[in-house]
Subunit: 584 residues, 2 copies
Amino acid sequence: MITRMSELFLRTLRDDPADAEVPSHKLLIRAGYVRPIGPGLYSWLPLGLRVFRKIEQIVREEMNAIGGQEILLPALLPRAAYETTNRWTEYGETLFRLQDRRGNDYLLGPTHEEIFTLTVKGEYSSYKDFPLRLYQIQTKYRDEARPRAGILRGREFVMKDSYSFDVDDDGLKQAYHAHREAYQRIFGRLGVRYVIVSAVSGAMGGSASEEFLAESEVGEDTFVRCLQSGYAANVEAVITAQPEPIPFEGLPDAVVHETGDTPTIATLVDWANGADLPQFADRPVTAADTLKNILLKVREPGGEWELLAVGVPGDREVDDKRLGAALEPAEYALLDDADFARNTFLAKGYIGPKGLLANGVRYLVDPRVGDGTAWITGADEKGRHVVGLVAGRDFVPDGTIEAAEVRDGDPSPDGAGPLVSARGIEIGHIFQLGRKYADAFKADVLGEDGKPLRLTMGSYGIGVSRMVAVLAEQHHDEIGLRWPSAVSPFDVHIVIANKDDDARTGATELASQLDRLGVEPLLDDRKMSPGVKFKDAELLGVPWIVVVGRGWANGVIELRNRFTGKTTELAADGAAAAIVEQLA
Amino acid sequence: MITRMSELFLRTLRDDPADAEVPSHKLLIRAGYVRPIGPGLYSWLPLGLRVFRKIEQIVREEMNAIGGQEILLPALLPRAAYETTNRWTEYGETLFRLQDRRGNDYLLGPTHEEIFTLTVKGEYSSYKDFPLRLYQIQTKYRDEARPRAGILRGREFVMKDSYSFDVDDDGLKQAYHAHREAYQRIFGRLGVRYVIVSAVSGAMGGSASEEFLAESEVGEDTFVRCLQSGYAANVEAVITAQPEPIPFEGLPDAVVHETGDTPTIATLVDWANGADLPQFADRPVTAADTLKNILLKVREPGGEWELLAVGVPGDREVDDKRLGAALEPAEYALLDDADFARNTFLAKGYIGPKGLLANGVRYLVDPRVGDGTAWITGADEKGRHVVGLVAGRDFVPDGTIEAAEVRDGDPSPDGAGPLVSARGIEIGHIFQLGRKYADAFKADVLGEDGKPLRLTMGSYGIGVSRMVAVLAEQHHDEIGLRWPSAVSPFDVHIVIANKDDDARTGATELASQLDRLGVEPLLDDRKMSPGVKFKDAELLGVPWIVVVGRGWANGVIELRNRFTGKTTELAADGAAAAIVEQLA
């Protein structure tokens, strides 16, 4: 079928929409692919829907290729199952909740682990029925605090979510790797630049997890990678290289000093550089030589608040995201004045490991605080610090914690080189959930030995609607979109830039021929100036533009590549075949 | 791709589910096509989703063929637009309403006239942009009071809804007829038996409207038709044949009688038959000779309650649906005791036209109460009735109303013969909305003369998910489903009913050959008894069943037709080609 611009439901805009910040948002609005109807809520117009469907189909094909079976669950879900897993509460304000006319509670599904688990439990009862891989391509809802960047973070969006069900860990690993490879094929076919980063699984629970991040400056996720080895991880998942233990022999004893009014790292370093310390005879003291102890209170789900101290080198801040991920599922808060008043042994600004441990406070340190490292730190009395306090000798922490910020130049955990940070957009996420949901719903089947066997699960998501924006974000220039051919709304954009009836007829005939050859043409048959048409063609971003213009009289048409900008002249006679060849 | 039953996510059930009443519901559950997850909420399992997608695709093709352009709107919608048209209120409890984290009101779209109107208004501004036909295939939500019959009436369901936009009435009529014909093609391709009935448009507003009803005993819609002429209408839309006016000359004068305690039609008829009335010398009085006056109070949107009396022949009840449709958008209620107490001129049980009209009560009558018809009716005093009261002579009603029940045997409005009633399921609905929504949103464009022109709209729906149940309802027998080939989840169901490895290999090879020839095979390769497999094949309802059984040793396989039950023997050699030929 030939789509004619004169009939296509499309109006392009000259100006960027006022509220659009990122290029994909601006261009998708200007080019008439989507329209906002409320915060984080978008309508897909014909061009946008075509791109969307092409992405959906590629995802579907690759999921089918790894034995995925497509099903479709409702978006409107009764509360009960989400109560069982506590996600009704855990999701907080992100969950859209509503009641029906009888006053029963419902939610709009943000993800479907619960219902998939119940569905499989409802149908299958024997180990023989597994492995099983199910998926859906379905509309999801999250009441984002700040819906932003158009369809990059909407409140109604479409995801492909799949779930694997296995009777043993080995099966889960196979399912995980099959999805990992399928995702690589999908993103490869879509033409998206991405990295796979180690991730912590957050509210989803479970053990192993990786994220697929599309490289983009406008991404909300920060990740780090080592350009030498290819190691990449979410900031929350970066593992700090732990130093080799240093032998204690020869290390000077710890000495307590009167340090005056030095409650901050800066004032402490100043004092130390004026104190003529023998350990620092040949170099100045820096913040990295100090050990900063942050006091928190932490509460496990259903538990009581308990004190926790986190020790990090004084030159680093604690990263909230890393701290939160490390403590999850516990929640945490900083101590308030009342807490300090209740715990009189805490000398604010002068807290040290010895006082913490002597008073039974749980004490976790950054992995850099390894055995044999010596520190300037608090001596648990106002105006006093200790110098040369050696980890493992003078104090033994309760363990390590990945809470300190990650910085460009930090060594990669694999030792291959420095880490550099970059921003990305989450386009896929794969989890080994393990038995979290199977436990919640007692999803057992009969094993080969006749005994019940608990299922183990994986969960795997791809943002299908978001991918439209991601591709627009990665593939555009200052004048418009540039779609990878696998997802372009049309294969060829034919511009009639010649008023002669003969040229118009020829262009239409070319469109028909291309259509018959399986190439989808968009024909700009509007009665407008060639300039307006060229601008629209560049904005819409179909990768190949055919111009039927002045050359028509001489039997020549032009073929332009939207990516390279290169223009080729083609004989009008036999042009369809030549174009098909160019596209292949 | 070959789908193997050994891997397919499917468990068939021997017994009907406890809560299922209608055959399609029972069979779709037993055959593993859908699963309930809450009242009116269903998951689509692999077989069900395949049927669903085939229906969707046929609908899409035919909508594209009439120039429909597919777009996709959100299901989650801000309140504002529905406030403008008052549907936020009008929908009552049927609307799912919710709030986001900021306390703003949203709804789950039950239908999308508002947003389509706003979308078109937002893009287009000139008469040159029209005609325009847009559609979507999208998930809708209605909080039904009584979700029933599985996916026949769910609370989350998928509809194709299209909307036409034109600058004149002629354009609207063309769009309406294009949709009507497209719907006929769609339902023809799907293999559904249906009738087109005249309909009133209910809450949708607008003028001309027809419903497509699938004939089915379990349908919720009653319609009547004339088998002689093919006239068919929704009960709400039946037009009563109005009698020719009868000349007044020679009609006896009306006479008031003391009728004693006769407040009901039955007691009044008894009195009349004992009263020796000259008009009834040659036949007995029946209820049809009496005129029953029903008192209501009616309120237009935003207005005050006002009295309304409806006069119908005493042998007919007032049909609530017809009355409601006739009065829409006003609401109505019967009078309560307080109302009677306030209007002392109303002699309950003895109310007559003259008292009503004398006291300024609006009085509408059934069309059968035509000029010159004579009635026995109330005389506005307790214990008194009037005989021979002639419409048009003794009283002049304020108009007619289609509120009396329609009965089998009533004459068809076209005069061709009697009406008979039947039940149906609404599968499609086409409306000429006119300017109702364009008025609400001031959707104007510039006309050819440079003056603003208000758009006129049509709205056209097909129940896509419901259609799966409708087809199951129309095409099944006592042992299972029987799908029309256009929507069957597979083309051929191959049953391996022979334990020899050789037969298994042969069956698998046959499946591969069919797959290559474009025929979708389902291969039952499970290690189960042939009896179980045959039962499942009959239950699942693929129209052609191939049995690779005992005959395999002699080079013979069987091809069974699930509709006719007829079995043909085929040579195993070249069976694929022979099957393709049979299917065509």
